[in-house]
Symmetry: C2
Subunit: 230 residues, 2 copies
DNA sequence: CCAAAAGTGTTCCAATTACACCCATGC
DNA sequence: GCATGGGTGTAATTGGAACACTTTTGG
């Protein structure tokens, strides 16, 4: 082998899984089921295998705990501090995933001892997983401004108020309801459904759906999503 | 070993090295000096070693070809397609570096057969290095809007026109000289030196220096660099 | 004096902000 | 009827875009 004098490394993926529960941004964590640090709270992770890419490994890991395929998934970067895992030199590739919090397989979650934690109420995490969470939060805040990824965290049908609550949870700040509504609707990315959600108010509020085709068409014409300011 | 049933991988770093030569953004490439693909144009790279982090490996690689330490360096992400390197399964971590193009060690460059190429005149590259270059260009364009990293590509003292030329090279579009000057100076990040550069015009133009301390102070107060629009 | 780049002034327009106000309905 | 969140209207302000104009000095 050409590179046989070079060293080799264990490669892992660790996934930061975001969900949104009406007014609070949450992370899915599980109790690690092998040594070292068995029983401690951890990101969902796994080792890379020879026959797969890193993206495939991350999807495999996500499917194992949530039962979901076709999840929004994005690579964060590599974490390579020498003693991040005390048992061996392991380089980990962080990923962050956005899922609809009501969409997962409850049985799998129970089986793995997984739980949702509010972003401000996280338990202690093993290794450098808190760093990975930090980085993914920063990434989420940045990307949510310039790309319509927030919708990945909502059900297919949602009210403008729910969408605003999501952005308020991500940026931990209040947004003006009137201006937010106008700005979002002015982009013409949402279809208003002929259905009202009657739970949130007497008057009821219309449900909307994100229209990916419209977004793609506008993007091709030079449009770019932007909710900065607000 | 706890993980002894897991597979291991070669890990490499590959560096996209940017420079700016008055009106053109350039990349530093070299002729690969080992098999496979020996003699072909390649990003500067190297294998990760046991005793170093990925960032350290990237700095080591950069110092080898440029002689420079303390370079602006940022991780791009991991590239893990199965056959990206036909000789073996190698996962590569891409980096991008910004250097002052007049600051490198000419002898080292000669020794490695390295050359600067205009960003629009790149030769064919080995493996997936063109993908890594693409990604770093997109990253540079994004980051240069929101962080004052452009200065890494300029000499310590520069004119406003040189700075504008740099942004015009990055975004491949013309900027209004009057508005650009006002916007940059209004941020109050530059110190005007009592020196004029007399080469560019009869009147001469003042030299400026980026003031990192001012930037840090403003940033701490909630300021954020932004040259979007223009 | 003139060319050419540096640098200043000014107008116009569109987007953001802040907040007042109207609407529909279950109780 | 009235409280509540949904939704619309609007005046004031800001900041970007465009471009005319002034400055300086080597030839």
């Amino acid at each position: 082998m050409t590179y046989s004098n070079k060293e080799q490394f264990y490669l892992a993926v660790d996934c930061v899984i975001f969900g949104f529960d009406n007014d609070c941004l949450k992370l899915l964590l599980y109790k690690r089921d092998f040594e070292p640090e068995k029983g401690k709270w951890s990101l969902m992770g796994g080792f890379l295998r020879n026959e797969e890419t890193l993206d495939e490994a991350a999807h495999r890991v996500l499917a194992r705990i949530t039962g979901l395929r076709d999840i929004y998934l994005e690579q964060l970067g590599a974490f390579s501090e020498l003693n991040r895992d005390p048992a061996a030199r392991v380089v980990s590739i962080g990923y962050f995933a956005l899922i609809n919090i009501h969409d997962y397989n409850v049985n799998l979650l129970k089986q793995y001892g997984a739980e949702w934690f509010g972003i401000n109420e996280l338990p202690a995490l093993i290794f450098d997983h808190a760093d990975i969470v930090d980085k993914s939060l920063r990434r989420l805040k940045r990307k949510a401004k310039n790309q319509p990824i927030g919708f990945e965290l909502l059900p297919d049908h949602f009210t403008i108020t729910q969408l605003r609550n999501l952005y308020e949870a991500i940026y931990q700040s209040k947004l003006d309801p009137a201006n937010f509504r106008r700005k979002i609707l002015s982009m013409d990315l949402l279809d208003r459904l002929p259905i009202k959600d009657m739970n949130s108010s007497r008057k009821g509020s219309f449900l909307y759906a994100f229209n990916q085709a419209k977004y793609d068409r506008l993007t091709a014409m030079g449009f770019s999503f932007d909710i900065s300011g607000l």
